[in-house]
Symmetry: C2
Subunit: 309 residues, 2 copies
């Protein structure tokens, strides 16, 4: 898999790759697969609620990272698409539960009313539970041309990425920090490596595992994933200050109102941007060993730091 002839790809040369078309094509594939994944049966209300949030748009970054990492190691879409969908189901579950009144109490998400605003709190809790459980069922049911051992590795990583060692653990510390202004960078890193980073890392690694990547490959991808995960969050914090609600599709300026500790609140805007760019450069460099094959993942890293929403 390692192309020794490949030139070092720097942040500047990567932008030659047509990421816009790549993202558009992959997103269309993922959107269709998600639409197909969850037909409405009895009791209709819960399927409608699950579909409402699952199909509410979004960048589909996690599924695309999974598809891209699988392709990098010669894997096919048949191998990775079910896991790609499962990642989005899990991500959607976390958004539905995070938006609940008992949590972040948000009324808008992706430009639409949040799940509990549409269907009520009880259904929103259950829709999240249903999506989480279905993610695991779906991977087992739909994955093709992959050994059972590899599928089990993916299940393990999905479980860990959501649980107290991942998403849930990050959200707990995040809730705990609300209203506190003296949060250290270490605590902020803990929150985000768990709340955002763990699932992004699992997205990349699960795609690679399904394609049969080696331990060394997984190490390179871990470095890539951890760097883009943290950069992603720094940019999220920056956008919360600089972007409008229309651009974000969710309430803007929330962190300031909630007096939430963020990277810009600790480092300032300019330094935060610098740190994000540094992380992205490291992510890009972690994959130069794979040459042109890594262009899609490297371009995605660039996109994360340059995105406006």
């Amino acid at each position: 898999m390692i192309t020794t002839e490949a030139k070092m790809v720097t942040s500047e040369t990567v932008i030659n790759f047509d990421l816009e078309t790549y993202l558009k094509d992959k997103k269309a594939i993922v959107d269709q697969a998600l639409d197909d994944s969850l037909p409405i049966i009895d009791p209709e209300k819960i399927y409608e609620a699950m579909r409402y949030s699952l199909l509410a748009g979004g960048k589909r970054l996690r599924p695309i990272l999974c598809l891209g990492a699988c392709e990098l190691f010669g894997g096919t879409q048949t191998m990775s698409l079910p896991t790609a969908c499962a990642l989005e189901m899990i991500h959607t579950m976390s958004l539905i539960h995070d938006d609940l009144p008992a949590m972040d109490n948000d009324d808008y998400r992706r430009g639409k009313l949040t799940n509990h605003k549409m269907y009520g709190e009880d259904i929103a809790i259950l829709a999240g539970d249903g999506l989480l459980a279905y993610a695991f069922e779906f991977v087992v049911d739909k994955t093709e041309n992959v050994t059972p051992e590899r599928i089990l590795q993916v299940i393990f990583r999905l479980g860990r990425a959501v649980g107290a060692r991942g998403l849930v653990g990050g959200q707990v510390v995040d809730l705990d920090c609300e209203g506190k202004t003296d949060i250290s960078v270490e605590t902020l890193n803990f929150i985000h490596t768990h709340k955002t980073g763990a699932l992004l890392e699992t997205s990349v690694l699960s795609g690679a595992i399904l394609a049969g990547a080696s331990e060394e490959d997984l190490e390179n991808l871990t470095l890539y994933a951890q760097n883009i995960g943290l950069a992603f969050q720094i940019i999220d914090d920056i956008l919360d200050i600089t972007a409008t609600q229309e651009e974000l599709g969710k309430t803007a300026g929330k962190d300031l109102t909630a007096q939430k500790a963020t990277y810009p609140s600790i480092w300032g805007l300019e330094e935060s941007k610098k740190q994000a760019q540094k992380l992205i450069d490291e992510a890009v460099n972690a994959l130069t060993i794979y040459g042109e094959k890594a262009f899609p993942l490297q371009a995605i890293a660039q996109f994360i730091v340059n995105r406006k929403f």
Copy 2:
């Protein structure tokens, strides 16, 4: 596995089996395994909340059914104990979320304050999510001496039992029926085959699958499990009327107060008891083909209809 010499075991002869010792021994094994399954690490609060409900006692019926079904087909505890624990994690998750103010709004469970009363709604939602995700991770991480194919089958069934085709679907219809007095037996059956039945069935079948049971064996066990599942719920409804809060460890008479449709409200108490006994007899008969080896599972069926709490 089929003992053709075995006499037909009727409900009366089964009671010779020392179920009390069996349940006590198995419960001790399960309680210890659950205690070991979830050490407290950082962030401590979420692990404490997860442990609070997971270790709050209970009959451990689902894990014991899993262990028992695995033994029936010559499987070992090493094979089934992780799945047994996962079943209890999932069951506990469903109790935590069902008790939330947005759902059944319960203050007591198993004689203790409910999770959200102890830790707050946000943590209770996250503790449920964490337990659900951990259940899948745990099965993959800890199961030994079982082929990956069988473990994947168990993961699939666990996912389906929790999701909209199981627990979640049953709870949605249950919430929908609240306050309605004209619920049909069909709707009541839908609620309970999903809300209670699906996970009980998965408990029995997953144990058998881990041990390598045949398709025919799984059919026999499905019949057994579906019958005890429905009987279990009928008895639950009866106990809600006849038992005291102290015996139940949760609020008694809730169904009456909530004007909830129950089997006794449709059939009356006596007929409900008869129907439960009939289901249990069918469950017992479904396993007579296995002779003495089926005594534990048959005795558990009897226990379900005779229990006082």
